[in-house]
């Protein structure tokens, strides 16, 4: 029944096609980007959580153990 109202919008039929196309292209682009991404960049990104330790000035260590 909601179709009755949606039908009154001009050219409604093209909306789903447009949204599908947009998302298909987005994910296709994403996939292509991911597969072709620069190795050095990926390596840099993936080591980011581990990097911050290097910039730290050491925290007090007299209590270790």
């Amino acid at each position: 029944m909601y179709k009755e109202i949606l039908r009154s919008v001009d050219n409604i039929g093209i909306f789903p096609t447009i949204s599908f196309t947009i998302f298909f292209l987005f994910f296709l682009g994403l996939l292509i980007y991911v597969l072709t991404a620069n190795k050095a960049h990926v390596a840099h990104m993936s080591t980011m959580p581990l990097e911050d330790d290097e910039t730290l000035t050491n925290t007090p260590s007299k209590h270790q153990q």
């Binding site: 029944m1 909601y2 009755e4 109202i5 949606l6 949204s19 998302f23 987005f26 994910f27 682009g29 994403l30 996939l31 980007y33 991911v34 597969l35 991404a37 620069n38 960049h41 990926v42 390596a43 840099h44 990104m45 993936s46 080591t47 980011m48 959580p49 581990l50 911050d52 910039t55 730290l56 000035t57 925290t59 007090p60 260590s61 209590h63 270790q64 153990q65």
Partner: protein, 711 residues
């Protein structure tokens, strides 16, 4: 390149960590109490403030928004600063965020036991608190985006994308689901009614799980798991796909909470399809987490932090496989309304959220206090006690779910229900409920062990409130010819906008058509608005949290129509602000409760349920028999309903109390005739009026036969 010196704010992380631990204990204690009430009803204490109906939302709100909420902020405030090589944007905003959030939690802990509730699951808090939540959430968002803008690291690590998506989506969900019309300081009506209210609520409810319990914790996983394992994430490329696929698909899956209900079937099918698709990104993320440990499994044997994280990610994998399976209509027909769902959410809650939080705490506290963990042995004990707790919790609940569902659906050779008395299917579960409570007790004991261990750890170290750091300032660079996604990773505001677009599309396509059909919904001419007395009774039903155990949604199965009556139609709920379909049947469905029993039955039943149903687990409601109904609100309530489009006659609000008194007098007179001494102005009269109205608008006379045994 100039090196800048700055410091990380650890104090705010410390405060959020402490809040996480405290609220975790509170939320789990309430959980343990309500779990125990299900096999020892005396633990409801015959007090309004301690009944299951009022405490159950306190438990869910406490563990979701207080325990996990503070856990999110703890992890975000720690990792965001380090990933961006910048202190938080504003210390003032950090502290407004912290204290504002705690204040909201305290106000929830006060108002929910008082019965101030909207009854919409995980959104029970009344409108003044809703506004406070929105404001504090924006403070968090501004602080986070501000930090991202003044960062010293050019690219945003994937964890930060998850944080941004969390912020933006929770804001949208909270605002849309909280559209409500206040009729007094602590009472409001949802602007949506019936089917629409149900759809918006579960669009919200499901995504509260997705974007409060899942995406922020995935962000934490992508930061803390590599840190704890001291190796980069298995595949950064996979994490990019994981992120975009997850936020795009998740937002559509909400209707799987409403399968076989009166929701239009196209919306149900949409929910099923997207729920199944969710397996892909969810398992992509889980495998990415587990495979990060490849070659480091020897560490898992000795490091409690990694142990907790491995179980957490495994639980995430199990829950995200089970979720799509439960979204299949044939599986949902068995699991819905039973304890299976309770088991499902607790695998996620105890396993994924709980254990990841513990892992992060065991990693963070020694770090921030510049020491090592006080006792690895105690942490290992916590791990095993907690794991056993999850098993003791989940297994009895699965068993209970299957048992009850099978009993509901079993017919005799003659074609009658084998267990026509609903209560039989509940008392059967008592031992399982007891085992579940034992599981909860184990889990909570583990948390207490952890708190002791972390307290001793902090004692032996020195807290570093401001951790010194240095990093080169970000300089302008030309980026001709670089890839669009890298360009995107450098632009947080555009990134935020795109995330918003991705989630809005799903939400709009699902919700807008149900608005459009409002005028076209198959209206049922015999369905009329509630009388003023029934409306007041309905608000008592909401206040006492009856919806926590009683559904009002008869699904179109023979086992349900035989037991409860004609299945529920969308047109029956057009005046229900809010909808009260419920999500769990610890007690029987009440959609067609009206006129099933005499008024006196309800009177005695509310006074003491075992009087009418020996062995009942329901709390007693003696105060309803004593307390006077507050009729000063009637006018505002009727006027509010008129504003929302309920067709009371012009000027009816002014004379509503006359109508109310007349109906109350006639019910009281009927009760008096049966020898019950009761005044017409008591709350029980309004509740009886409401219960006797339920489902009677389209009640078919000849479907009443087998229920006569249902006493």
């Amino acid at each position: 390149m100039a090196i800048e010196r700055f410091s990380y704010d650890n104090k705010i992380v410390k405060y959020f960590a402490i809040a996480t631990a405290i609220w975790g204990v509170v939320g789990m204690l309430v959980g343990l109490l309500i779990a125990s009430q299900l096999f020892i009803p005396a633990l409801n204490f015959d007090l309004p403030y301690t009944t299951f109906g009022r405490l159950r939302p306190l438990h869910t709100n406490a563990v979701i928004f207080a325990f996990v909420g503070n856990g999110i902020f703890m992890g975000v405030y720690y990792s965001l600063q380090r990933l961006l090589k910048a202190r938080m944007f504003s210390d003032a905003l950090s502290w407004i965020h912290f204290w504002g959030w705690q204040l909201i939690i305290v106000s929830a802990a006060v108002t929910l036991p008082l019965g101030l509730t909207t009854s919409k699951e995980y959104a029970e808090l009344e409108w003044p608190i809703d506004i406070a939540i929105a404001l504090i959430w924006v403070v968090f968002g501004v602080n986070m985006i501000g930090t991202i803008i003044k960062r010293r690291e050019r690219h945003m690590y994937v964890a930060i994308w998850f944080y941004i998506a969390t912020f933006i989506t929770v804001a949208v969900l909270h605002i849309v689901n909280s559209f409500e019309l206040p009729v007094s300081l602590f009472k409001s009506y949802s602007v949506y009614a019936g089917v629409q209210d149900a759809l918006v609520q579960w669009w919200y409810g499901h995504n509260a799980v997705a974007f409060f319990l899942t995406t922020p914790y995935l962000g934490l996983m992508y930061y803390f798991l590599p840190k704890a394992a001291n190796r980069p994430v298995y595949s950064y490329r996979l994490s990019i796909i994981h992120f975009w696929a997850l936020i795009f698909i998740y937002i559509w899956a909400g209707p799987h909470h409403l399968l076989y209900t009166a929701l239009p079937s196209w919306a149900q099918s949409l929910g099923v399809v997207f729920s199944i698709m969710l397996i892909a990104p969810s398992w992509g993320g889980m495998l990415n987490g587990l495979l990060t440990l490849r070659g480091a499994w020897d560490k898992v044997r000795i490091d409690p932090v990694l142990k907790f994280m491995v179980v957490a990610v495994t639980a995430y994998g199990m829950a995200t496989f089970e979720g799509p399976m439960l979204s299949l209509k044939n599986v949902n027909a068995i699991g819905h309304f039973t304890d299976w769902i309770v088991a499902h959410v607790h695998v996620g809650g105890l396993g994924w959220n709980g254990f990841l939080t513990f892992g992060v705490l065991y990693w963070l506290i020694p770090r921030m206090w510049g020491t090592s963990l006080f006792s690895r042995k105690l942490a290992n004990i916590h791990f095993w006690v907690g794991t056993l707790g999850i098993l003791f919790y989940a297994l009895p609940m699965y068993w209970a779910g299957f048992t009850q569902s099978l009993m509901w659906k079993e017919f005799t050779a003659e074609g009658f229900l084998k267990y026509p008395n609903f209560l039989e299917t509940v008392t059967q579960l008592k031992p399982l409920y007891a085992m579940r409570a034992f599981g909860g007790l184990l889990y909570l004991s583990g948390v207490l062990i952890m708190i002791y261990n972390l307290f001793k750890t902090a004692k032996q170290g020195v807290f570093v409130a401001n951790e010194e750091a240095e990093a080169p300032a970000l300089e302008a660079r030309s980026h001709s010819g670089e890839h669009w996604h890298r360009w995107l990773e450098r632009r947080p505001v555009i990134f935020t906008g795109l995330s918003l677009v991705a989630i809005l599309i799903g939400g709009m396509i699902e919700i807008i058509p149900t608005y459009l059909i409002k005028s076209n919904i198959p209206t049922i001419s015999s369905v009329k608005p509630y009388t003023p007395l029934e409306l007041q009774g309905r608000d008592i039903y909401i206040r006492e949290g009856c919806v926590g155990c009683h559904s009002q949604m008869i699904r179109p199965f023979r086992s349900e129509t035989e037991r409860f009556g004609e299945y529920s139609k969308a047109g029956e709920f057009v005046y229900d602000h809010p909808f009260l379909w419920g999500s769990k049947r610890t007690g029987p469905d009440l959609a067609r409760e009206g006129k099933k029993y005499p008024d006196s039955w309800h009177y005695y039943h509310m006074m003491s349920p075992p009087l009418m149903s020996p062995g009942s687990l329901m709390p007693a409601y003696p105060w309803l028999l004593e307390d006077k109904l507050d009729t000063s609100t009637t006018k505002a309530k009727i006027a509010g309903m008129q504003t929302l489009g309920v067709p009371y006659e012009e000027g009816f609000a002014d004379i509503a109390n006359i109508n109310l008194t007349a109906q109350a007098d006639s019910i009281a007179a009927g009760l008096n005739k049966e020898g019950i001494e009761v005044m017409a102005d008591k709350e029980i009269i309004a509740l009886i009026a409401y219960l006797q109205r339920l489902g009677t608008d389209i009640k078919v006379k000849d479907i009443q036969q087998p229920e006569s045994t249902n006493k």
